[in-house]
Symmetry: D2
Subunit: 328 residues, 4 copies
């Protein structure tokens, strides 16, 4: 931790002195090619939105078949992250977990093997913030600029370019990042030094998990006490109990339409993913000695749910998990 | 519990058959006197708003000095709840706890000693819902109608007639109750059979407590991770972490103005009161075998805070409780 | 609560003055008939042990067929608790829940309808302590002596007269109670005024539940970290992690023989029963404003388990509940 | 994590092939010098016990003054860990935290700079198990053997050579480690591959923390319900609620003598240290996706206690933390 803090201080100092030179070598006015690595459920629609906005895209993925569609739309597909780095001086990565990010950046065919000085690297994956800081440190050693920009919003938001990006990194580079991210999202927020994007996302998702479980408990209790669920939701939503989970994503079937609870908890944001993000919250809280009693318990409940068959259901299925079984 | 359920079923049946006759004996068109029992911080401004709306008020309180001001404003002050019941066929009670309510209704000088048939009794206290049902049962035996109408909103809202009333009781009587409650509040919601008002309030306050502790933990974690508190609040409030405690009543000093956190957690809604309401949530959850893991933990945390010197601070002081001590 | 406290103070005063007269009317030297109400899984072997010790038994149960076996062994079977009270001046009750106890004592054919002055009433049911106090109060009004004596130990211990009785009531009557209880148990502990037996049992079972879940979590974590479960149990049991659940009733299949975990969690102490006892702990803690964070969470976890198919498994099945699903 | 697992598999394979050669170079029959690094409250009495058993000791510490006493007793004091490694082929380290261990082993004057092939390195510190595995990997690269052997027991047990050592590492080396550890402890348990000692210790301390908080809650609840604390402890200790914290280290002042609760929670095992160990439990649980609901909550409670002035009190002071404040 001490080592990491020292490193990031270096990062900032280094950037202050040297960075502007690099920036000047990057072409921002014209639409030069943008690299995109990771064409999964989220990455694919994001890359399409870059194409739609007129950016040439140099793309790759470990699963070549996922590149087909993008190729048909005009993207140039290459084999390795290193090749992307040879052809583009702005690269976006959107990967499922920390080990993938480590491999894509520092692996034997990774970006950093061929990265050009001054290249802007934007990682939109949600990963362990300590890995974020390590990648940033490694990128700087190569003269590149690393920013973390995890997203809020699902596949639908990615398709409609309605994502929210929470961006961490050197403030002078934020405008350059924003230019690209604004093609893929409705909101791009600068959060502070590198890692701050991940920190903001972790914080948001911890509070989201607490609000969701709290809403599920509360709705369940109210129903048991004889209240009509729609009426209860209405009362909460005009009172101080109001939260996103009660007014926008209610976990009780029948209360709202167009949300996972109306569709047997299919789609949405899976319990496994929420458990993963809460694991990051738990780790960062432990490392910073921050007490998070409710966040911790929320984490444990989502962990138990993963063990009990809810891994792939939307995280609002905690309502179902807490309900009495049918027939009892 | 079985007994209580049986009773409330009786209530409903009884009302369906007999109630309308009683209603006709109560004068709703003209502004006949309204009784008001309990002139504390909340009751006093509520009663004043009845006076302002042109209702003659017959008032009493165990502390005679609290009646002075109301008397000067034109209220008739009497000595006992029984006397109120002799002079008014619509009575509102606003008392601090269950034993007070039991005493005011069923005590030796209580309302039910002198209550007239068809009298409308509205209890705005926040109390144990089992007591609510017992009072309703006792009132019905005397031919009176009992409704529970606990409030959301503090002393300020009471003064400005901006309270929210959550009303439980026979639906046919709701209009009669609404006529009076609308003089004292901005919103009057019908929640269902008697006890439903208490149930709705308990549910709201449980979710409120969870949201508040969750917000405090999240803001604290974010600050420890290097995020600016105002920026973090802004990000949460435009994301899925949003809740009333983050966007309207933020617990971190310096993030918002005009909230208790801006004033050393003075005023607002005391930790003791929140712990009391969470006790009701806990009891009703236990009695109905409803799991409320976060609600339960929120209850325990507010209990510990009461023991550690936070009893009289606003419940948003949980942020302070969770913070590292100064100088460490 | 205040009312209850006042009542129990009365109880004590009343007993101090009047009790000894009554005691003298009860024959303690010779083996006069003992009443026994509630011949379920626990009550039946308990009553048999009274017969074995030479006491004539007057028995009843709501299910007449459960009386057959006892009748064959020499007990006199009657139809109602009131009849038992007519024929015996020492009566033991062993019933499944609070409503049964209320009915057996204060119902229209209940004990108190026919109880003789000075009769010793011993309730071995595990029930809500507030009901215990109400029964004691009602019994005293009839001139009888009420003691609570809930048991620790299951059906096996009941058969072998190895139960532990935790006794609450007037100290002067403890010897009289002990005479009978010692026929059915190995240990009879005087805990204090009426209700203290229930209090001691609730406390024990709360700590038991915490220890069991803690042991299950710890064993699971150790196994995940690569430790052999038998070795880990051995290490814990010679260290400060040691508890009854780790050294006598280990929840991990394969670590011990002759415990429910060795038999697919059949038999033992059901999750539903543990959830019920934790509900009493929760209620008494809420009523006395005592923070019990772990006890509360243990309660919630057993509540969730009841909803997820573990209701009838031994409470050590929490280990299974927390494990990753097979095949994941 | 994957990387770590791969490494430790290498460790085992490597050891199986090559290790015995090295072992033969180490003199086990005669009492050759033993290195000891870290002469704090625990390390100092441990090193003395080696001297008492006739082993020449080569010692060092970052605070030279702590070496004085040992020097007077006959130890040879040197300046750096590297010098210890030059002079001894068996070295024990006892350090306060992970960064110290990293520095002592891999720092610029660290053991591994001068370590001889076949040297036996025993780390008795309680640290992050991932650091343990990294140190083991680094040691093996130098041809040395690394074992983790954290202790259970405090300063008193260290002085009286009554510690318990939980040992992880190659099984073939256990006898060599045992020879030395038996001079300083009463029990030396082999737990499995490297890291298993830390795992066992973490598991024990997590269950210990749960048992302690559970005991504190239970005793507090019982006292509130009117039970005598000594009597309640006696009842628990002969029942299924029994645990080390109730029968050996009771947290309630006045129940036992010779424990921290009898001495205003001075001495013993500090709350900060318990919070640290629970942090390791939390991290390993998160990394292995193991749900630990009570362990997690115990962690959070000790975290809050550290913030509220209990950092340096014995961890049994959680009883005091949960009690109502004096004068309320």
């Amino acid at each position: 931790m001490a080592a990491l803090l020292r490193r990031s201080r270096n990062v900032l100092r280094w950037n202050r002195n040297v960075d502007f030179a690099y920036v000047s070598t990057r072409s921002m006015a014209s639409k030069t090619p943008v690299g995109f690595i990771g064409l999964g459920n989220m990455g694919s629609p994001m890359a399409k939105n870059l194409l739609k906005n007129g950016y040439p895209v140099i793309a790759t993925d470990v699963f070549p078949e996922t590149c087909k569609e993008l190729q048909d739309l005009g993207a140039q597909v290459v084999v390795t992250p290193a090749e992307v780095a040879e052809k583009a001086d702005r690269i976006i990565t959107m990967l499922p977990s920390s080990p993938n990010v480590i491999d894509v950046y520092t692996g034997s065919n990774g970006i950093l093997k061929k990265v050009k000085k001054g290249t802007l690297l934007i990682d939109s994956s949600t990963i362990d913030p300590t890995v974020t800081k390590e990648m940033a440190f490694a990128a700087e050693k190569m003269g590149a600029v690393f920013m973390d920009a995890p997203v809020s919003g699902g596949v639908g938001a990615a398709s409609m370019a309605k994502l929210t990006f929470m961006v961490g990194g050197v403030e002078e580079e934020f405008t350059a990042a924003q230019e690209l991210l604004a093609c893929m999202g409705a909101t791009v927020v600068y959060c502070g030094q590198v890692g701050s994007g991940q920190a903001a996302k972790i914080c948001n998702n911890m509070l989201l998990a607490i609000g969701m479980i709290g809403t599920a408990e509360t709705m369940n209790l109210g129903i048991r006490l004889g209240l009509d669920p729609k009426l209860l939701a209405k009362i909460l939503n005009m009172s101080s109990g109001r939260c996103w989970s009660s007014d926008t994503y209610n976990p009780v079937p029948g209360v709202m339409e167009g949300v996972p609870s109306a569709n047997n908890y299919q789609g949405g944001f899976g319990t496994t993913l929420m458990a993963k993000d809460l694991g990051f919250a738990q780790n960062t809280a432990t490392n910073t000695k921050t007490p998070i009693p409710l966040g911790s318990l929320a984490h444990q409940l989502y962990r138990v749910m993963c063990s009990r068959g809810y891994a792939n259901k939307d995280f609002s299925s905690v309502f179902q998990f807490l309900r009495e079984e049918e027939g009892q």
